[in-house]
């Protein structure tokens, strides 16, 4: 019988800094804490008094990789508060911004973070260039990332803390030469994305457990900005219900700990999105995937990786359509007078559903705000799954092997700790964090 505390100070190959502690008594896991080791940077406190126009660029700095998702979500919340409806062109440019992000960010996670585990390597760069198959994977990884980066730079100015999107529209518009180059790059990487899908479809890792799923699911075609919040239990919430849902379901859930929360958990992320809305994927994507899509809906967390690879393909196909079927022309920003109001933005960031809420003063400054990130919502599932995993493998594995298995599982969730640093519950000596502690 084993009784011990397992403590992992810094999980590697994830975004940001996280630690994990597991308490085992007589072979039973009695507590798991997945925590940030980041020091708080107080983004929501710093919102107070800021002019509304500064909000998207301010909240972008929560995270270097999810950055453009925060910008899109903040813009949506600010426009909701101001009563601004973006133009059709703006909506298409925002979709393209998200596609660039999805392609680049998912590729970063899949190639640099998760793929080394499949090849039993420490790092992606350890792949052997003299082996043709591994050489191909090295090129594929960097080429896909580069294509996503190019698209984001063309449409939004940068992949990280994009400069063109703002409240009411865009400050800069893509030129024909840039668009043609983007379409070429996206077409060129499509075979690489298909190879990536095969790798993760055939991954030897599986971890199955029942959970509910939640995502902003589209009504027509798969995407990350428009839709209704949908759950795997069949509930849906439109924009008129966002605030209520945020305050009464999502917020308390993201503050709970796995071993205190009595209800049923839910997961957000690619797996949730594909589980809930795979029929709305681009027709070309579905055609290429064939029977692979029959694997979904799935309760295997490692298929979150496969779901991300599928989303890259969809974003490639959808972006090519958007770029070739539209002409983008300079447009003025849509503006509206300041007023006292509350605005909520909900989008699907790469790692799952992201919520921003802002309360606007009549002078255009922010009274206060709230941000709920995907990783905060996945904390309960991460902790429960790690607990289950440890109990399963404890009889047969040594400590270092257990730690590597835990890291692999955590990586499948693709947690973002820069985001979660502010919004992840942190326990001290087993007590819950009071609400004011989230900053």
């Amino acid at each position: 019988m084993h009784t011990f505390d397992l403590s992992m100070e810094h999980i590697t190959k994830i975004e940001g800094a996280a630690s994990l502690s597991v308490k085992v008594v007589d072979d039973k896991v009695v507590d798991v804490k997945f925590q940030t080791v980041e020091y708080k940077r107080f983004f929501t406190e710093a919102l107070k008094g800021k002019p509304i126009l500064a909000v998207p660029q301010h909240l972008a700095r929560i995270c270097g990789t999810c950055s453009n998702a925060h910008i899109m979500c903040a813009i949506e919340a600010c426009e909701a508060a101001l009563g601004i409806t973006p133009t059709e062109q703006t909506q298409k440019l925002r979709s393209l911004t998200m596609h660039g992000l999805i392609i680049r960010d998912h590729a970063l996670h899949l190639f640099l973070f998760s793929l080394p585990d499949i090849y039993k390597l420490d790092a992606f760069l350890d792949l052997d260039e003299s082996d043709p198959a591994q050489h191909q994977i090295l090129h594929d990884g960097f080429d896909i990332k580069a294509a996503g980066n190019y698209l984001a730079t063309l449409i939004a100015g940068r992949s990280v803390h994009a400069t063109y999107p703002t409240i009411g529209g865009f400050l800069h518009f893509p030129d024909k030469a840039g668009i043609d180059e983007a379409v070429k790059k996206l077409n060129d990487i499509r075979p690489a994305v298909l190879r990536l899908i095969e790798i993760f479809k055939n991954s030897p890792f599986h971890f199955d457990r029942k959970t509910h799923y939640m995502a902003l699911a589209p009504e027509k075609s798969f995407g990350y900005i428009h839709g209704r919040i949908m759950t795997s239990q069949g509930e849906t919430y439109g924009p008129e219900k966002y605030r209520d849902h945020l305050e009464h379901v999502v917020l308390p859930y993201s503050q709970a700990s796995a071993y205190e929360y009595q209800g049923e958990g839910y997961m957000v992320g690619s797996l949730a999105r594909i589980n809930l809305a795979k029929e709305t994927l681009h027709p070309k994507t579905k055609e290429s995937l064939g029977k692979t899509l029959d694997l979904f809906p799935s309760t295997d967390i490692y298929y979150n990786n496969l779901a991300q690879a599928i989303e890259i393909l969809h974003s490639v196909d959808e972006s090519i359509d958007l770029l070739t079927q539209n002409e983008f022309k300079p447009e003025p920003l849509v503006k509206a007078p300041y007023r006292e109001a509350v605005g909520v933005g909900v989008i699907e960031a790469p790692r799952g559903t992201l919520y921003h809420k802002i309360e606007l003063n009549v002078d255009g400054t922010i009274k206060q705000g709230e941000v709920i990130v995907p990783t905060g919502q996945n904390q309960i599932n991460i902790e429960r799954d790690v607990g289950t995993l440890v109990e399963r493998i404890l009889p047969t594995m040594e400590k270092e092997a257990i730690e590597m298995e835990i890291e692999k599982l955590i990586r499948a969730y693709d947690p973002c700790m820069s985001c979660a640093a502010h919004f992840l519950k942190v326990s001290w000596a087993g007590n819950s964090t009071p609400k004011a502690a989230r900053a």
Partner: protein
């Protein structure tokens, strides 16, 4: 690159209180430079890239993020004494902001977050990297400018491995 073997440049990449935007930019710069970097650099410590990280000695340590705690300070000093060159990357490392934005809070805001600062054992004031250790190169920007980063890296390669310049120096 020449066939003559040489000792790879030992790199450490460290992130303190930040959003890791410079880390992401570095991984994007890698898209076009990975083949040279694989030959040139030994990433000894880079948690974003690998599991087996070693704290021994570095030719170049890249420091991202502001210094928010006594633990950060101690770690940074340790890195400095193990490193020939230390490069502060990004606005938080160079100016302390935006990660150190609590330094600019009103008295009311400071009071509101005081218990958290104390509870986490954070420093009363968030510091810049150069407030704690000497810095050889600064690359400001939120995020850092990719061209400035490459120029700095090229300069360091020339300085640390002058013998490479007669072989095949270009890593533009």
């Amino acid at each position: 690159m020449a066939d003559t073997p040489f000792q790879k440049i030992k790199i450490g990449w460290f992130s303190f209180s930040c959003c890791e935007d410079n880390t992401i930019v570095m991984t994007e710069i890698m898209n076009e430079h990975w083949q040279e970097w694989k030959k040139l650099f030994d990433f000894r410590h880079a948690r974003v890239l690998k599991f087996k990280n070693v704290m021994d000695e570095f030719d170049v340590a890249f420091i991202e993020g502001a210094i928010a705690s006594p633990e950060h300070e101690a770690k940074l000093k340790d890195i400095r004494q193990r490193s020939k060159k230390l490069v502060a990357v990004g606005a938080c490392a160079v100016t302390g902001l935006p990660s150190g934005q609590r330094n600019t809070f009103t008295p009311e805001q400071k009071e509101a977050i005081d218990f958290l600062v104390a509870r986490f054992g954070a420093l009363p004031k968030v510091l810049r990297v150069k407030d704690v250790v000497p810095v050889d190169v600064e690359l400001p920007g939120c995020p850092m400018n990719p061209d400035a980063f490459l120029k700095a890296v090229n300069g360091l390669v020339v300085e640390l491995r002058p013998e490479l310049q007669t072989q095949s120096p270009n890593i533009k």
